[in-house]
Structures are given as C-alpha cells and as structure tokens.
Amino acid sequence: MEHAAVKKVFQAISHPGDSRKLAKEVVEYLAREHLADPDALHDLDIILTEACANVCRHAYGGAPGRLEVRLGVNPGRWVELEIVDWGKGFAGDARFENPGPDSEGGRGLYIMRMLSNHCRVDRRDGENVVFIHKDIGATQWKS
C-alpha cells in the first residue's frame, strides 16, 4: 500500500455475526468518505464478507480469533484491502478456481479474484494476509 493517501485499520473478533459486521463497517466508511457507485461498493462488500467469513471458518479451527482489515485508498484511482488473521495460515492449496456446480464450498477465493484486479494470499511474520487491489473508475468516486 505504498501510495495510499488514506490508510485505516478496522478490527473485530471472528464470530460469524461480527465478521459480517466488520465487512459492513468498512463498506459504510467507504460509502461515507470515498465511493459513490453502489456496484463498486457491493463488490467490495462481497470481497470483504468472503474474506472475513474465511477467517471465521478456517483461521482458528472454527474458534473465534483476531481479525483485522487494513484499508488503503488512492482517491479517484483504487482501493486496497488486506484481510489479516493470526491463525493456522493457508495450506499450499489455496485455489482461485470456480469449483463444479455441485460443490457446496470453495467459491470464496474465486469470487474475490473475479471482483478485484489483484488478489493474493501471503504469510508474513505470523500474519496471514489476503491482499486485494481493486481499480475504481474516476466517475465512481464521490466528488
């Protein structure tokens, strides 16, 4: 997030309800301060909800744990998100493909990739990070 003019951190404990609430909180902040376009906001809402739900379900073996969203905004150009947990980390098998239609799960990372320009998972210094970069057209910002 080198060039982000705006940086902001949001935190929660990864209960199912609280994970969703954290996603909403970030989206509401963006709607209030930066973004006008409902489609762009909805995309970010889904990305955040998927990533936060994953922390809730996978990071701490189903138990609640620390969950953080780091937001970077370059107004008029892009939004970056880092969804961070301190849990067991991604296995080597993080797949970004769409599974078969009968599969009950495994669509979260695919959805995040589809709705962003870059999507990457990292582990660094005990932090597991889902990194998202999303370009947002000039007309979609608040004026």
Binding site: R20, E50, A53, N98, P101, S103, E104, G105, R107
Partner: protein, 114 residues
Amino acid sequence: MEKLTLRRIGNALMLHYVGEITLEITGDLKRLLDAELEGDEVATVVIDLGDVSFMDSSGIGFLVSVNTRMRSAGRAFFLYRLSPPVEKTLGLVQLLQFFQILSDEAALTAACGK
C-alpha cells in the same frame, strides 16, 4: 435471521426469506429446512430470493446443498424471484444456468402443481 416464512402449497414447500443470506444464518436455514423435509412428503421446494438484500458464498453453498438433496431424492427444486444482488452473486460463479429458476407467478403455480 430476519424473517423467514415457510408455506405449504399442496406438496410444495415455499421458503421466503427477507434479509441477508450469509454465514450468520445459513446454518439455521439448513437446520430448519432439514427439519421441514424430514416431517412429511415434500415433493418440491421453492426458495423465493426476491427479498434477499445480500448473499455470499455460504448462501450459494446452502442453495447447492438443497438442490443436491432434492434431486438425489427425485424431487424438484426451484428458485423464484432473484433480487439483483442474488443474481449478481449467482452469475459470478456461473450458476444462473445450473438452478431451475421460475420466472413468474404462472411458472410458480405450475411448479407447485396447482
């Protein structure tokens, strides 16, 4: 859970949910539907998604699981009325062609066998 309505029309069970379908409630919805399907002879399930304001991949998983359960028992499963956010989510994962979607009330009535 915001507001869930279950309605029996002949042998069809119609499920209507008002609110967001996310991880927070998909467990509840699964349990409720399991309870209802165990009870007696439901030949058809219809889920009305017209008032769902947001749906994530756990919602998709819920729909897929109901579909699998009904199909493998030789029963019918339909979606009815997709709100724009639901349509977007299902479109993203290329499931709009996978589910049987009832486009209007006439189709609904026909599916419920009345």
